[in-house]
Amino acid sequence: MRRVLAIALMAFTEAVRDRVLYIILVFALAMIGSSAALVTISVGGEGRIVKDLGLACITLFGLFIAVFIGIRLVSREIERRTVLLLLSRPVGRGAFLVGKFIGLALTLFVNVGAMALGLLLLARMLEGEWTPPLLLAAGFAFLELTILTAFSILFATFSTPTLSTVLTLLVFVIGRLSRDLVAFAAQFDSVSLHTTASAIYYALPNLSLFNLGSLGAGGSLPSGATLLLTAAYALGYMTAILALAIAIFRRRDFQ
């Protein structure tokens, strides 16, 4: 466990020292801040617009961190061959990947936290009251991003950084639309279309579950049981994806 934490801390340190992270974070905070400008040209529901846009920004820029920093952290370790030094110690390959995952999740947590706090303050300034559900919505965005981080690590174990980026972004897009895809397929009589849509729905995560955006920004929240079930779904999914990544990574040769 000490080795896993050492790798996690090193991954976090490396991510924190990556300039790309700051570019993404500054850009995200600027986007959240500039959404306040929209208030001046909208009629009514100003706070809601800011909160909706803010939560969308948290997910989008968090996705950039998960994809660009996450894949770089694993791929670069392999490309630069620092992995040879790490794995020549009594460190299992599973421990290596879990350590990387925890380090990345910690990076995401800090960044999503910073963005959420910025949004919370902005909403307070506009509406004159605190909106705690925003933090819950940001928390679920974080869970969604950790699933995507697990996918980015999975792809980085066997493909190039570019392909890993494309594949992770595809998982995000399809994961967000998979429920709509099934509803869309239901409108047609084609059995193969139904089967394909269902296969995609069950094979990839249903990321729309984590989108509490409009709810967090004013609407009603799902029940506690639903939220717990969604969180358990995220944990189960990321565990399964990490287990798959570890199985692939264990078979990998480092030439």
Partner: protein
């Protein structure tokens, strides 16, 4: 006790668009005893690094098995007895030397107290005690190799595996690494190192293995490989009349080398030396030196390479 053992190890790589199998290691049988310094010689592409990576579980053998101190090499716990310095090691260059060693100490399973004790001692041992707080990106190539050596020695490993430790270093850097290796030998640690710098191997090793085209062509103690037989004798003579010098050239391995009044001859074996000396003195010449030459490891290595080329 065997520190390193390879039994029937084969390794195939898949290459090219059609992923064709190419065998780079053929049925490797190798043992290295505890406390031995073993030199693993071979030209580039012979399979030295592949063998090392199999020993460290970084590559999976296609067939056969490898063990470190009796533990199956593919298992992480086998690596708790080993320290490794890869060829051209890469580091986290934003870390300082001390931070890097502290990180590697955690991976080696050292307690904080042990790490605090070992890190300054190792920095001192590799001559970097003044550079521990400097970022690795500011280290020279020689310093990086030495910090790599320091991390390999964290946790006092019983087996130290070094892949081309002297490669790319200037003569001073090579000497520094060589001195550390001499120290390891004195401590009776098992050292397994690959190299194509033959004089270094000859200077440091108890036993040598020569790997050619993925096959172990020769293996044995250095004195067994080199033998005790005199291969040639170099005789330097002076003040010889030209006709006497020409007559002596008949028994030489190569035409005599004439420099002013000096003549240098290289004779095959010891047999003809007495006759040459007698004839020199009889002709009024002087004998300046007689230097016997044994076969060098380099000659053995080159002969093996040439032999394999002919096959």
């Amino acid at each position: 006790m065997e520190a390193i053992r390879c039994q029937g190890v084969c390794k195939d790589y898949r290459v090219g668009f059609w992923r064709q199998r190419v065998r780079v290691l053929h049925d490797l049988e190798l043992t290295v005893g505890a406390g031995e310094t073993f030199g693993y010689l071979g030209p580039n592409g012979a399979g030295k690094t592949t063998t090392i990576k199999i020993l460290l579980g970084l590559l999976r053998p296609t067939a056969g098995s490898a063990w470190l101190c009796g533990r199956e090499a593919s298992r992480p716990e086998a690596r708790s007895v080993a320290g490794f310095l890869p060829e051209t090691p890469a580091f986290y260059d934003y870390l300082t030397g001390e931070e890097f060693l502290a990180f590697m100490a955690q991976l080696a399973g050292l307690s904080r107290a042990m790490a605090r004790e070992q890190i300054p001692a190792l920095l001192d041992r590799v001559g970097l005690s003044g550079a521990g707080t400097r970022q690795l990106r500011k280290y020279s190539k020689g310093m990086l190799q030495r910090i790599g050596m320091a991390q390999a020695l964290l946790g006092d490993p019983a087996v130290v595996i070094l892949d081309e430790p002297m490669s790319g270093l200037d003569p001073i850097g090579r000497k520094e690494i060589r001195d550390i290796m001499v120290g390891l030998r004195k401590e009776a640690r098992t050292v397994f190192f690959s190299s194509h710098i033959i004089p270094d191997v000859e200077m440091l090793c108890d036993r040598v293995g020569i790997l050619l085209g993925g096959r172990l062509a020769r293996i044995g103690r250095l004195d067994e490989l080199l033998g005790t037989e005199i291969d040639s004798v170099e005789v330097t003579l002076a003040d010889l009349p030209p006709e006497a010098a020409a007559a002596l050239a008949d028994g030489a391995l190569a035409p005599p080398l004439v420099q002013g009044d000096r003549v240098q001859l290289r004779l095959r074996g010891e047999g003809g030396v007495d006759a040459v000396l007698r004839r020199t003195l009889a002709a009024g010449g002087r004998v300046l030196s007689v230097v016997p030459h044994r076969r060098t490891l380099e000659e053995i290595f080159l002969a093996e390479v040439a032999e394999r080329g002919r096959r």
